[in-house]
Symmetry: C2
DNA sequence: TTGGCGTATTGAAGCGCTTCAACGAACAAG
DNA sequence: CTTGTTCGTTGAAGCGCTTCAATACGCCAA
């Protein structure tokens, strides 16, 4: 081995392979002094410090974080297991979490489970074995025993977009029911009382909650307001187009005056199909989406929407995790954030009849 | 310390804190045997193995990967520094890279540099210190000295969407010029000879290359084909709308019969503005985008586009990295992939005049 | 000259693992 | 009963770092 030879000769060391003791030798100081230069430079005499830094430079020394963390038992890393890196909400959350981590001097490592339960567990275990300080998890629907396992090893896990377990862990979620309520209320306030809720499958927790919120809004409004439910197969543009075409085909008097859609893509498809059939948005039918995606802002008619504060969710989740890691007083809790209304042209107030 | 006490007592160990020697003691075997059970179970006698596994279970032992990697000098992890986790191309690349890594039994960790040069370097250094096996980098335009530094430490770095340095490193890129050529040729073959190239700023490497390709296509086609260049400020829907409005306002005879757009968002905006002014797509103006984004497929008129094989880019890049890590024969090279044409309605062959 | 004190430096112990030479037991062949 | 093999197991050495008690070195006051 070339490395071994060089190392053995004591003269040269392969680049990136120099250890602290190599540096110490080169600088003519003790191992501990090198460590001090790296970690507590202020307690080292300036001349000594300079010698050590020079040696580090000459040898191209790179501190070995494995050994470092192993020796001091501390970690400067957080892990984030993301269910779907292709989903903007999670990307936003990741950005927020990263920001908060950086503020605390921590690095955030992402692992994409790609909507795969097994992969999610693998990465969870991997972070556990890698001895990260804590783990953020944006999970798939489903049992979270792997998360529980990691927790039982003394490593905190905070869930995002999923509630914490009562008294066991922290979580950050959005009040989906409230989002549905906001969306429907927005339309009701604009005089749209024949509402239609579009979205599905209803087995999706978030969709069901949004529907419940819309129902509550209509019920509280009273005044003859109605809510028709059109369950779609998926939350896609395509599903939206189909629904839009169906609505456009109705007699004008049978059409809803407002549509609450459980997703922006769905709403965008709807708008496309309606406009293609000369049903005007928002004059004939107002429509509001959900998620504040690109779809919403970039549609032909900019679509009003209800958005989750992804960035804030990430910040808060990371904050909870850091708090839990710090030890001391910590009460497990789930922070529930309010979704926000984004008003755009698709629910503008024209002179509707 | 509670931990210390429990550990000292030799009876109990705090959960997740058990070490291999605790397991060995509990199972009544030697340390090395526990290691064998974990790493080479087949050479351990079944009864011994069972005892050890039982002890592992009872103690909730979690292998410490820091110590493991430190001791054997190997890493089971790759790092991927992504310039923008919000960009679908990079997400696709990440997916491909993850797939290839998993096939090789490696974990892929993502770090989002968020289009920030400093952050990119930080993560690069962090992966270096963490002793990952190798690093994938989808970089920002700009000097790559941090990458070079990591390489000089003997840790391979492969760039994606950026060429490798001649004889120094590997890279995977897409032939942007060819993409522009394909796009323009596609329109020319459909009888559109008055072409317009939309995109900007031209200082963006990719945009300039795509334009060059379109120019070459027009030149090679001859036959009186022309190419007008409309430089836009950005590659957004909004820029597209402005351009579309401008084109719609022209006399029909002054309009291009085909538009080559440097981005799907731009093309989508264009289509929206044109259709709003009753210019028909593709009858009056055919249009082709670039990037194979959502925008393209989900526009009112599905837009033809040229797409980069992101997934394949990721797979190949990870493959190159793994090859380089394996040592042995390895020739640094840059793999240039061909972009692909996606035909959709916006360039369909109607009976144009 | 001696004692005392603060500052700078030292180096051994230990973090939890892998590796590997060495050992022991069991068994077949001579 | 010996010798040789094979198979399973052992435990010390070492990975590169942090930590901390111990020491060395001034330097000033007594």
């Amino acid at each position: 081995m070339v490395d071994a030879h060089l190392r053995g000769s004591g003269a040269l060391v392969a680049p990136g392979t120099a250890s602290m003791s190599d540096v110490a030798k080169r600088a003519g100081v003790a191992l501990g002094t090198v460590s001090n230069v790296l970690n507590r430079p202020s307690i080292v005499a300036p001349t000594t410090r300079a010698k050590v830094l020079a040696a580090i430079d000459e040898l191209g020394f790179v501190r070995n974080n494995l050994a470092r963390s192993l020796a001091n038992g501390r970690a400067d890393t957080l892990g984030f297991v993301i269910v779907d890196i292709g989903n903007f909400l999670f990307v936003d959350i990741a950005r927020g979490a990263q920001e908060a981590s950086a503020d605390a001097g921590m690095k955030l490592l992402l692992a994409n489970s790609d909507v795969n339960f097994e992969s999610q567990n693998d990465y969870l275990d991997w972070f556990d074995e890698a001895r990260v300080g804590g783990v953020l998890l944006a999970p798939l629907d489903g049992p979270l025993d792997a998360a529980q396992r990691v927790r039982s090893h003394g490593r905190p896990v905070v869930t995002v977009n999923w509630p914490g377990e009562e008294g066991q862990s922290c979580g950050v979620t959005v009040d989906e029911e409230h989002g549905g309520f906001i969306a429907a209320s927005h339309l009701l306030e604009r005089g749209r009382t024949r509402l239609l809720f579009a979205g599905g499958p209803l087995s999706l927790h978030a969709v069901a909650e949004r529907l419940a919120g819309a129902r509550r809004a209509v019920a509280e409004w009273g005044n003859g307001a109605t809510l028709e439910v059109a369950e779609t197969e998926r939350l896609t543009i395509r599903s939206g187009r189909e629904l839009g075409a169906e609505i456009a085909a109705r007699r004008a008097s049978d059409r809803p005056s407002g549509i609450v859609s459980a997703a922006d893509a769905l709403a965008a498809g709807c708008v496309q199909a309606l406009m293609a059939s000369n049903v005007r948005v928002p004059e004939d039918v107002a429509i509001i989406g959900y998620d504040n995606n690109h779809f919403a802002a970039d549609s032909i008619i900019p679509i009003s929407t209800v958005g989750q504060p992804g960035h804030e969710m990430g910040r808060i989740a990371a904050g909870l995790l850091l708090e839990e890691m710090a030890g001391g007083e910590h009460e497990h809790r789930t922070v529930i954030l309010a979704p926000e209304l984004f008003e755009r042209a698709s629910t503008a107030l024209p002179d509707f009849r």
